[in-house]
Point group: C2
C-alpha cells in the first residue's frame, strides 16, 4: 500500500508517542520531531508507510539512545496475553467451528498495537469479535473475510510461512497454530519475526515466550521495520517467502508492506486507522481476512 497524505500527520504523532514512551525530555522530543520533519520532503508517497515508520523509530532510538524503547510495553503485553492464554484455548475447544474461532482470535490479537493509536480495549474487542457482531466482520463484503478460501488453501499447503506482528499478539497466533497443527500435524510451519526492535513488534524471544516454537520453526525476516519490506529482507528469508505454499501475514504493517506483492498470501488484521479503513472501504475496528 502506498503512503497516503493523511499518514504524514500520523508519522509525527507516532514519533511523539514513541519519544514519550522512551521517556525522553521535551527538548529531545522536539529534536525528534524536527528530524522527522527533515525526512518528509525526501519521502516519496510511492513508498509504503512501514518504510517511513522504520525511519521514524530509527530517529527515536538514535536521539533517545534507547535500543528498545518499547521493552516495558512489550513485557506488559506478553503478561496480559499469557494471562488469558487458557481462556483463549477454551474458547477454541468449545467452538463448533474451531478453525474459524482460532482465526478470529488471531485477528483479535492484532489490537495489541502501539504503532497505530491504541485507543482500543483488548477485552472489549475480543468479546465483540467472539460475539461476531455484524459490524466487526463486514459480512456484506465477502472480499474482506475470505475464510472459505483460507480453509481450502490451508488444507492443501505443505509449507506455511506465518509473518508475526506484535508482542502479545504472538500468544493469539500460538492458539491458531496449535489448532492448525492439531488438524494437520504434517504441515511444515515457520514463524517469522523482526530482526531488531521496532515499536512493539515481536522478536525471536517473544515468539519463544508465547510458545510458538511448539508448532513452528522461529525465523527472522531480517527486517527492522514495522512491516515485511521485501527489499530489506534477508536472502534466506526471501527464499522461504517465495517458496511457501501459504503465507499467513499478520497485522496492518505487514499488509501495508506486502499488499502490492503477489503470492499465496492471506492477510489477517484489524483495520485500525481511518486511512486503511478508507483504502479497504471498511470501518475502523473491522477484522479482515483477505487474500492478496
Amino acid at each position: 500500500m502506498k503512503t497516503y497524505l493523511e499518514c504524514i500527520p500520523c508519522f509525527f504523532r507516532q514519533a511523539l508517542e514513541a519519544s514519550q514512551i522512551a521517556g525522553t525530555s521535551i527538548v529531545k522530543q522536539k529534536e525528534i520531531l524536527d528530524k522527522v520533519a527533515v525526512e518528509i520532503p525526501l519521502f516519496s508517497l510511492a513508498a509504503t508507510p512501514p518504510e517511513m515508520g522504520r525511519l521514524v523509530h530509527d530517529i527515536v532510538r538514535k536521539i533517545t539512545k534507547k535500543k528498545d524503547p518499547y521493552l516495558k510495553v512489550k513485557a506488559k503485553s506478553n503478561k496480559l496475553a499469557l494471562g488469558i492464554k487458557n481462556d483463549l484455548k477454551n474458547k477454541v475447544r468449545r467452538s463448533k467451528n474451531r478453525l474459524l474461532t482460532a482465526v478470529e482470535l488471531a485477528i483479535a490479537g492484532n489490537i495489541i498495537d502501539y504503532g497505530v493509536k491504541n485507543t482500543l480495549d483488548v477485552n472489549k474487542e475480543l468479546n465483540k469479535i467472539l460475539s461476531k457482531e455484524e459490524k466487526i466482520i463486514k459480512k456484506e463484503d465477502p472480499a474482506l473475510f475470505q475464510f472459505k478460501q483460507f480453509k481450502s488453501k490451508l488444507s492443501k499447503a505443505k509449507t506455511i510461512l506465518y509473518l508475526g506482528d506484535n508482542v502479545g499478539e504472538t500468544v493469539f497466533d500460538s492458539i491458531l497454530l496449535e489448532e492448525i497443527k492439531e488438524m494437520y500435524p504434517e504441515k511444515e510451519i515457520e514463524y517469522a519475526v523482526r530482526a531488531a526492535p521496532i515499536i512493539n513488534d515481536a522478536l525471536a524471544e517473544d515468539a519463544y515466550k508465547a510458545g510458538l516454537d511448539q508448532y513452528a520453526k522461529i525465523i527472522t525476516s531480517g527486517v527492522d521495520a514495522p512491516g515485511t519490506i521485501l527489499s530489506l529482507c534477508s536472502q534466506t528469508f526471501l527464499k522461504k517467502f517465495n517458496n511457501a505454499d501459504l503465507i499467513i501475514s499478520k497485522g496492518q504493517g505487514n499488509y501495508e508492506a506486502l499488499s502490492q506483492e503477489s503470492g499465496p498470501i492471506f492477510f489477517l488484521f484489524m483495520a485500525k486507522c481511518p486511512v486503511i479503513a478508507k483504502h479497504l472501504n471498511c470501518d475502523i475496528g473491522n477484522i479482515i481476512l483477505k487474500k492478496i
Copy 2:
C-alpha cells in the same frame, strides 16, 4: 499559550485539510506538507499556535494560488447562522437570564471552526449548551465559567473591544452585542476582525453581513493570523486594545494568542482540542468564560 509538541502533528493535519478545501492536486498537497515540514525545525515552542497557523495557511495560499480558500465554506457558515438568527434571538427573549443566555449562545457559536478538527454538530452542540448540561459548563471549576465577574466588569466598562473569531460565529456575537446594547445603550463597542483571509475567520464584510455594525464599530486588528497576535497588530488597534475597559475575546485562537498577556480580557470559547482541554484541565466541548 505556548505551542505544545502535540500541536505539531495537528499543524500537518490542518495544512492537509486546508489544501483539500482549496481543491488542489495530490502533488501540490504533498508540496504544501513538505514546506510545512521545512518550517518545523525553525519554529520555537515558545511561540503560540496561531503563529504557526499563520505560516501554514500562508503556505497553502501561496502554493494553491488561492487568496481565500475558505470562501465557499464561509458563505455556507454565514447562511447557516443567519438562518437560525431569529431562533437565537427568541431563545434570549424567552430566557429568565437574558445576558447569560446571550453569552452562552455567543460561546456556542464558536463551534463553527475549520481550524480545529470540525467533528462537532452545530445544532446538537447548541441544544446541549442551552440545556446547560453539567459536563458542558464545568460547574465544579468556577474559574472556567466566570459569569458573575464578567457581568460586573461589563456593567462598569465604558468602552468594550470585542475580538471576533469565525464567520457564522459573528451572527451569535451579534445576539450578545444586541443584548449588551439593550442593557447599556451608552457603551462604546468596537468589533475587531482579521485584516486578511485566514481559515474561516471573520473579515469586515462578514461582520457587516451578521449585522454587527448595528451595535459596534467594525475595525480590523491588522493581523492575518488565526488569533490576535499583538506583535503583528496595527498601532491603531493596539491603542484601542490597551485603552479598552473590557476586552471580550472570542475563540480558541484568540485565547492561544493572548492568554499570556495582561489586561481586562475575558475569553469566551469552546475547548475544541485535546491540547487545550489538558492545558485548562477541562474536557473537549466544555464552554469557557475565563478572565485572564
